[in-house]
Point group: C2
Chain length 83, copies 2
């Protein structure tokens, strides 16, 4: 999941997303969610967002093995789970 | 593809990525690339990046149908192909 949210709303959004997903970069999150949890997250996100200004994009795959991930450079939020 | 690049290098990186992919949000790009082209992009990106500070994450799927995309809110770069 990636978002582009105006700075005054970004703190709230970050907090929300971290309740559901792992923060891996700037405004990028990843994780495994059930359809129900994903709907819940979208619903909560819509309450924070200004629909005409902000955007949220969700890329999803039914099976983890269908999606490869490659990191070049610094792995930013290795400790995210500990925070 | 998503990147997190220090501001002084971000212009160059944006330019590079747009040669290969479509810019869909802030630091987020998507598109279809052959393995060769992807390797080329990574090679060029490494030249721009400071490996200890910047990061680049590539999520890829062999088949387009394996990856769903859902946009909430503003579709930011609809005109990207025209720019």
């Amino acid at each position: 999941m990636v978002y582009d949210i105006e700075s005054k709303r970004v703190g709230k959004m970050l907090k929300l997303c971290r309740r559901y997903l792992n923060w891996i970069q700037n405004s990028v999150f990843e994780g495994e969610l059930s359809e129900v949890k994903l709907k819940e997250l979208i619903l909560e996100a819509r309450k924070i967002m200004k629909i005409e200004k902000d955007s949220l994009i969700i890329f999803s795959s039914r099976q983890e093995k269908w999606l490869d991930k490659q990191v070049i450079g610094k792995e930013k939020n290795e400790l995210d789970n500990l925070l």
